[in-house]
Each structure stands twice: as structure tokens, then as C-alpha cells.
């Protein structure tokens, strides 16, 4: 990875606020309001800090890597003396530890998308007692070196599942078949991806009790061809709304759905316009906001270790306004569905609905 990269295709990240940003803006306020219960603050602060970002994948995933990096770039714009550097992991697993070490050798604050490499991160951090860390999507509590956050992925995928359940019953919508089958595709069965699945399944059952939710695990987050082939297989089994929770390989899911004229969902950033007419909506996650927030706090000396749960109620998660699909399909029923799901979202925020989740994803047990 290089330090000179600008965020890829900024139009699709949540930063520019062009599309589907209402959730994010409120999220910004909400996140600012969050207080981590923290023991002590770091001493190394100032405008000339070095911030390293280790991603478990590569830039261009239009997901957490891109948004986190976009947040850091915005930080760089606001504080020109800050040095930022990204450590990408094109080789996956084997790159993580060396990257975290290399980042720790160089930076004062290391931000890591740690949903898969949390254990490694903890063990490396022991070797660098002077460095501070932010663990995205990996809960670390009671460690003075760490600030950490976890998104309630099950909630956002619950909303998507609700939409999928509604869509698959309505054969008036072009491409929807008689059967009530929807699908979920992901790479590996990790707590986070299982959390997504649990929410999605619960959502689909919420709006369509007799739905069958298929799941396929490709074993790789970086192989869209495989994802495409698996999606095709799933489509042939009758699925007509498919959630691909598979990082950069998601383009394979989109393409297969697009070719078969059925429906899919974006994740993390607003992808509604990428495959127009295929993507019902995108589940949004404000990775840029969090990285900006942590970076800014670190510079200003207000950074505190501790754990934050970013849930729907905090506004950190949301869905888009579905303008693209409404325009594409020109059906009134879509508006109904949107309003219905927004209602469910508000119920979620109010705590009136409880979505099942995977405890391991939140560091429980």
C-alpha cells in the first residue's frame, strides 16, 4: 500500500454526502456524542502525529477500507501536518501481522480494521507499548492502548432482510418469481459475517414468515468470479433477492444478479447507482466518520481508550433512500416498502425490536 493514494471513486463513499447521506450526518452527531468509558489518555499528541492504517483487504472494496481511508484523507486535509499511510493486504491473512508490525514501527496511532485479525493485533500491540491503536469492528476492553468499536451489523442486515422478504413475495416486480427464496453470500463463517446473516434471515422472516434463506460461503473475499458463479448457482435455486456480504468480491454478486434481472443489496457505502435497477438499497456504515473522529481526537489530545458499540440507535448505521430503484421500477409499491422499512428502522432505534445477534461479534462470552 502507498501513502499517496486518494480515496478511490469518492462518489461511492459516504463522505461526499451526495446520496443517501441523511443517516450518516445524524450518525456523525451521534458518534460525537458517544463517550467511551476510558481509563487514561495518551501523551503523544500534537498536529504532527503519524497515523497508520492497516486494512485486511485492499483499497477499492467500496467498503470499510475505502471509507476508513477516506476519513483519514479528510483528516489530512484539515490537519496538513499529519502523516498518514495505508498498509494494504493484497495477500490476505499472511500480510496482516507484518503490516501491523510495520505500521506500529512507524506510526503513533495505528487504525486497524480488525474484525478478522484482532488476536494478532493484540499480540503485536504487546510488543509496542508506546503505540496506540484503534480496532475497528473488534471489541477490546480494559486495554489502555486500545480504542475500539463494533457496528451492530445484524441490525442493518435486518433492514435489508425485511426488504428482501417484501420483494420476494411480489411477483408484479419484474424478475421476482413465485417462490419465496432469498439468498446470502459471504466469504467465510466469521462472527461478523454470521452476524450479518443472522440479521438478514431474521429480517426476511419478519416480513415473509415462510421464506427460505439460502446461504453460500465462497471461502474468499477477493474472488468475484467465484462469487459470481456461486450467485448464479443460488439464482438457479430460485433466489431473487441476494445480499452479498463479501467485500470487494461483491461485484461478482452484482453482475450475476444484473444478468439474471434479479435484486441485490449494497453494503457499507451507497452503491445504489453502481448496477442501476439491480440494487434495492445499500446498508450504510460510517467508517469514515469513525476514523476521522479517532484521528481528530488523537491530534487534539482528547483520544481515550475504550470500547464503543455503534448501533442503529446511535445513527451509525442506516439504509439509503432507495431513490434509484424507485426511479428505475416506477412502481408505487416501492414507496410503500420504503416507508415500511423506515418504520421498522425507527422501531429498532427506539428499541422496540430486538434483532438476534452473534455474541462473539460483540466480544461477549
Amino acid at each position: 500500500g502507498t501513502s499517496e493514494k486518494t480515496p478511490v471513486d469518492a462518489g461511492t463513499t459516504a463522505m461526499d454526502g451526495k446520496t443517501g447521506s441523511q443517516g450518516i450526518t445524524s450518525g456523525m452527531e451521534a458518534v460525537d456524542g458517544l463517550e467511551a468509558n476510558a481509563p487514561e489518555a495518551p501523551t503523544t499528541t500534537g498536529a504532527d502525529v503519524k497515523i497508520g492504517f492497516v486494512s485486511t483487504g485492499v483499497l477499492g472494496d467500496k467498503a470499510l477500507t475505502d471509507t476508513t481511508w477516506a476519513g483519514l484523507n479528510k483528516l489530512k486535509d484539515d490537519y496538513p501536518d499529519v502523516e498518514i499511510k495505508i498498509y494494504e493486504s493484497p495477500n490476505g491473512t499472511t500480510d496482516w501481522e507484518p503490516n501491523i508490525i510495520a505500521a506500529s514501527e512507524w506510526a503513533d496511532l495505528v487504525i486497524v480494521n480488525a474484525s478478522s485479525c484482532g488476536e494478532i493485533l493484540l499480540s503485536v500491540a504487546e510488543r509496542f507499548p508506546d503505540v496506540y491503536y484503534v480496532a475497528n469492528e473488534f471489541p477490546v476492553e480494559d486495554n489502555p492502548q486500545f480504542a475500539s468499536d463494533v457496528y451492530t451489523c445484524n441490525e442493518v442486515s435486518f433492514l435489508l432482510g425485511c426488504l428482501a422478504g417484501l420483494f420476494t413475495q411480489n411477483t408484479d416486480i419484474p424478475g421476482i418469481n413465485e417462490e419465496h427464496v432469498v439468498g446470502y453470500i459471504s466469504g467465510m463463517e466469521a462472527p461478523t459475517t454470521l452476524d450479518y446473516f443472522t440479521g438478514f434471515e431474521a429480517g426476511a422472516k419478519f416480513t415473509c414468515p415462510d421464506v427460505t434463506v439460502l446461504q453460500s460461503w465462497t471461502g474468499s473475499y477477493t474472488d468475484p468470479l467465484l462469487a459470481k458463479e456461486m450467485t448464479k448457482g443460488m439464482i438457479s435455486q430460485g433466489a431473487d433477492c441476494i445480499l452479498g456480504c463479501i467485500s470487494s468480491a461483491v461485484v461478482g454478486v452484482f453482475e450475476a444478479c444484473d444478468e439474471a434481472d434479479i435484486y441485490s443489496f449494497g453494503l457499507d457505502t451507497n452503491k445504489d447507482a453502481d448496477y442501476e435497477g439491480t440494487i434495492i438499497t445499500s446498508g450504510l456504515k460510517c467508517g469514515d466518520v469513525t476514523s476521522y473522529k479517532f484521528g481528530k481526537e488523537f491530534i487534539e489530545g482528547t483520544w481515550k481508550p475504550g470500547f464503543i458499540l455503534m448501533d442503529c440507535a446511535s445513527g451509525a448505521l442506516d439504509i439509503t433512500d432507495m431513490a434509484t430503484i424507485k426511479e428505475y421500477l416506477q412502481m408505487d409499491v416501492i414507496d410503500d416498502y420504503y416507508n415500511q422499512v423506515i418504520g421498522i428502522r425507527d422501531d429498532l432505534r427506539a428499541g422496540e425490536i430486538e434483532v438476534p445477534y452473534i455474541p462473539a461479534a460483540r466480544g461477549e462470552e
Binding site: 500500500g1 502507498t2 501513502s3 499517496e4 499511510k85 498498509y87 495477500n91 490476505g92 491473512t93 499472511t94 501481522e97 507484518p98 508490525i101 510495520a102 506500529s104 514501527e105 512507524w106 474484525s115 478478522s116 485479525c117 484482532g118 488476536e119 503485536v124 510488543r127 509496542f128 473488534f138 467465510m188 463463517e189 466469521a190 462472527p191 461478523t192 471461502g219 474468499s220 462473539a360 462470552e365
Partner: protein, 361 residues
């Protein structure tokens, strides 16, 4: 006799030229990409030797590459194109980990040899599949070994997802091995370089000794050059081929074991990204000259560690250096291309002709 010597000398010079050419090419590409080649080379060097971490990373790679290069050189000798080392690397790693997390805590002296032996045996058995197909049925090994690699990798995947699951781990991996099974770390922290390096060196010495000092090595060298002759003089060539392939794959398995017990402490999914091919490169780069294998292994480890260093420090993609190394193999194998004598002859000709023309004018 003198003639042979001078020919050897010329070959050496041509090979050196091939290396130089590769590096010049490397520099030119860097310059085209808008970076300073000198700085890049400096960073490459720094990436290999700049800090304890850099040098430690180099040693981490060296352990694996030297072991695999030694393993590969065995099969290379008999003309068996053993691409299956990647698969044995995986299997060896997983099955080395297995006793170390399944059994209760045992003393180091017991558990490490036991683990490595377990990896060795499974990898050797795996190698025997393609070995038998080649030796007894003459099925092209380039095809089968590549296919079997996929089978091995998916099999490991299956095991760590369904059988040897590490509870609560976000990525598929085996449980962590017991404390005593890990090799002690070299004083190169924060890198993960470990004393596994001594095993790697042992493996190399073993292969060297086996190839040139034992009857088995003698048989290998005979089968390599003429299998029908070997049969005639009473060497069971098919069995020698099979045994060599199994041994080679078994040593590949040990490389995997060293990786697990030296670095990770667990077997992780996709833990090697074609790493075994790096060892194969190291062997091919010196044309299977076993005496030079440690040197080339060190060189390849250096380009790997240096490459990522260079990427960290300058932003030039490390893919570039990974592109240049196989190119280097081709250039070195085509050493005749670097016929400096002809080149100088050519230059002289032009020079002389110019002079003559000048004289005429």
C-alpha cells in the same frame, strides 16, 4: 582442460550480465513510474537489512525458502516438475500443528520432532499420489500436481472449518498450539524469526549429503539421466522416482511445519500465497546447483522482505520486484542471450568500419 575452464568462466560472466540486466530493467521501470531508482534500490536494501524487523522478516522467509528449495532440488534432479510442493506445504503445516494442539503439553524435545514428523508423513503420502501416477502410469506431473494442490488446500480449508475449529476465532484456523511446540524466537523482535532456521539448514545439509554422498543419491542421479539404463543395472527406477517425490514433498511438509511452529503458532486459512513457488524459483535461479541454493534462497528472501520494505517506504508496488525475479530466471536460463563477446565484436566492427570510412573520406 583449459578450454572447459574458460567456457565456465564465460558462462559465469553471462549469468552475471543477466542479473545486471534484470536490475537495470527494474531501475528503468521504476524511473518510468516516476520514482528515483537509486532511492528505490536504497529502500529495497533497507527493507531487507534496515532494522531488526526488516532483517527478521528476511530470515522468516529464508527459513521457508531454503527448506522448499532443498526439497525441490531433489525432484528437479529427476526431471519431475514438482509443483505439488504448495500442497505439501499446506498439509505439512496443518498436520504439524495437529499433534501440537491435540496432545497435552509435552516437553519441547518430544513435541517438536513429533509434530514435524507428522507433517512430513502426511505431506509425503500426499506426494505419493502424483508420484505413483508419474512413475507407474507416466501421467504428466505438471497437470496432476497443480490439480492436487487445489485439492490439498481445499481439504485443509475443510478441516479448519469443520473439524479442527478454533472456537471463537474470526478467521478459520486451528486452535493455537501448546507453548512448548513453538521454536524459540531469535533476538530479532519485533519480527517473528525463530530458531527454526537451524532445522532449515539441517534439511539443506541433509539434501546435499543425500544427493552426492549416498547410494540413494547415486541412484537418483542415474535415474535422472537415464531411467532405462538404471533399470538395466538393477536400480528400481520407478521406486526411486516415487521415493524421491515422497521425500521431496515430505520436506515441503516440514517447511510448512516450520512456518507454523516458528511463526504463527496455528494453521490459518490461506496462510501461504504461492509461497512454495518462491522456493522453486530459488532452485531454478541457480539451475539446480545445490551448492548455490542457500545463496539464491537468501537473495529471494531479500527481494521479498526488501520488496515490502520498498512498498512501505516509497509506494512502489512490491509486485514489481515479484515480476522481476521470474524474469531473472528466464534471463539466467537464456544466458546465451548475453553473449558479450559477440556484442563486443559487433561494436568493434562498427568502430572499425567507421574508422575505415573516415580514412577513405
Amino acid at each position: 582442460m583449459l578450454k572447459v575452464k574458460s567456457e565456465k568462466f564465460e558462462t559465469t560472466i553471462r549469468i552475471v550480465l543477466a542479473f545486471v540486466f534484470s536490475f537495470v530493467l527494474f531501475g528503468v521501470v521504476i524511473a518510468i513510474c516516476g520514482h528515483n531508482p537509486i532511492d528505490a534500490f536504497y529502500q529495497l536494501f533497507r527493507g531487507g537489512f534496515g532494522s531488526k524487523f526488516n532483517f527478521g522478516s528476511l530470515i522468516e522467509d529464508f527459513i521457508m525458502i531454503l527448506t522448499i528449495a532443498s526439497a525441490y532440488s531433489l525432484t528437479r534432479r529427476i526431471g519431475y516438475f514438482n509443483l505439488g510442493l504448495e500442497g505439501s506445504f499446506y498439509l505439512g503445516a496443518m498436520f504439524s500443528a495437529a499433534p501440537a494442539f491435540l496432545l497435552p503439553d509435552l516437553p519441547k524435545i518430544v513435541i517438536i520432532p513429533l509434530s514435524l514428523a507428522c507433517g512430513f508423513i502426511v505431506a509425503a503420502l500426499y506426494g505419493s499420489i502424483c508420484g505413483i501416477l508419474k512413475a507407474y502410469y507416466n501421467v504428466n506431473e505438471a497437470c496432476t500436481t497443480i490439480l492436487m494442490n487445489y485439492v490439498a488446500i481445499f481439504f485443509c480449508d475443510f478441516m479448519i472449518n469443520n473439524v479442527w475449529v478454533s472456537p471463537g476465532s474470526p478467521i478459520p484456523q486451528t486452535p493455537y498450539v501448546q507453548e512448548n511446540a513453538m521454536f524459540a524466537k531469535l533476538p530479532l523482535s519485533p519480527s517473528r524469526a525463530s530458531t527454526a532456521i537451524f532445522i532449515a539448514i539441517l534439511v539443506y545439509i541433509f539434501v546435499y549429503f543425500l544427493s552426492f554422498r549416498t547410494t540413494f543419491g547415486f541412484k537418483i542421479r542415474n535415474v535422472a539421466t537415464n531411467a532405462r539404463y538404471s533399470d538395466t543395472v538393477g536400480i528400481k527406477s520407478k521406486r526411486v522416482v516415487l521415493a524421491t517425490v515422497m521425500l521431496s514433498c515430505g520436506l515441503g511438509g516440514i517447511a510448512g511445519g516450520l512456518e507454523v511452529l516458528g511463526i504463527y503458532g496455528t494453521f490459518i486459512q490461506n496462510f501461504s500465497q504461492n509461497s512454495a513457488f518462491q522456493g522453486i524459483i530459488a532452485c531454478l535461479l541457480v539451475n539446480n546447483n545445490l551448492a548455490l541454493v542457500p545463496l539464491s534462497s537468501f537473495f529471494i528472501s531479500f527481494t521479498r522482505a526488501g520488496g515490502s520494505g520498498m512498498e512501505y517506504y516509497t509506494g512502489i508496488s512490491s509486485a514489481l520486484i515479484y515480476t522481476v525475479t521470474p524474469l531473472m530466471i528466464l534471463f539466467v536460463s537464456m544466458e546465451k542471450m548475453f553473449d558479450y563477446k559477440r556484442f563486443f565484436g559487433f561494436v568493434r566492427k562498427i568502430f572499425v568500419r567507421n574508422k575505415e570510412n573516415n580514412l577513405k573520406a
